[in-house]
Symmetry: C2
Subunit: 135 residues, 2 copies
């Protein structure tokens, strides 16, 4: 990734994303869709990131999961700094065309804290109801 | 759920959500956080919905996954109409406190189309790169 595109998002309509896919996407007000990364073999939900058209295009074409970092306002090839790459196995769009599910092979930890997934550290207390009793 | 709360979201600070949890949540501009529903035993990613504080509170306390419907602007107890309930097994907050992962036991189909998950119907063509070759 050149430094020229590290500073600003590729504008709508300027991405090389397949126009047939682009026409279907339902983006939020920032031009982004949510992207869930899941370990392809274990089923672990690893993290949720955000993609614009160009990030999705790169994810579909480079074999590496690429997000739009909202905090840094730049493209983020997962693992580029940490080495914890996400190798793309498959990409699916949901029924509303506003969420992507990327099945990946995650190298090492998905979470910046060092945890395997971003959901490992903070389990909330929840009541569990027995369906049979609940009807 | 009474009809009195079907029309409008419970305002921030008016929910019965545990204040210790509420203090940590990082909500979007609409006061919502993304919620990923995953089948607890198979690992299938079922859908992504949105929750405000009250929807999270109800999810944590009633045993049934409850979302805020952005299109209908009302609370949505998953399966209330369809019978396709999501029985809560566990709830985890992510490292940034802006995404919830709810592990559930999904009755029937999660998707309104009748598919088991919202990601079953629309696989995008993606290049897969062999890591070994790619380094």
């Amino acid at each position: 990734m050149g430094t020229s595109d590290a500073a600003a998002r590729v504008g709508a309509g300027q991405s090389a994303l397949d126009p047939k896919i682009a026409a279907r996407l339902r983006r939020n007000e920032d031009g982004l869709i949510a992207a869930i990364a899941q370990q392809y073999d274990t089923g672990e939900v690893l993290m949720l990131g955000w993609m614009d058209d160009e990030a999705l295009h790169r994810t579909l074409t480079t074999g590496r999961c690429t997000y739009w970092s909202r905090s840094r306002q730049e493209y983020w090839v997962k693992g580029e700094t940490s080495g914890h790459a996400q190798w793309v196995k498959s990409v699916a769009l949901d029924c509303d065309a506003d969420v992507i599910l990327v099945r990946v092979d995650q190298v090492g930890s998905a979470c910046h804290t060092g945890d395997r997934t971003c959901f490992d550290a903070d389990l909330l207390e929840a009541n569990r109801v027995d369906h049979a009793e609940a009807g």
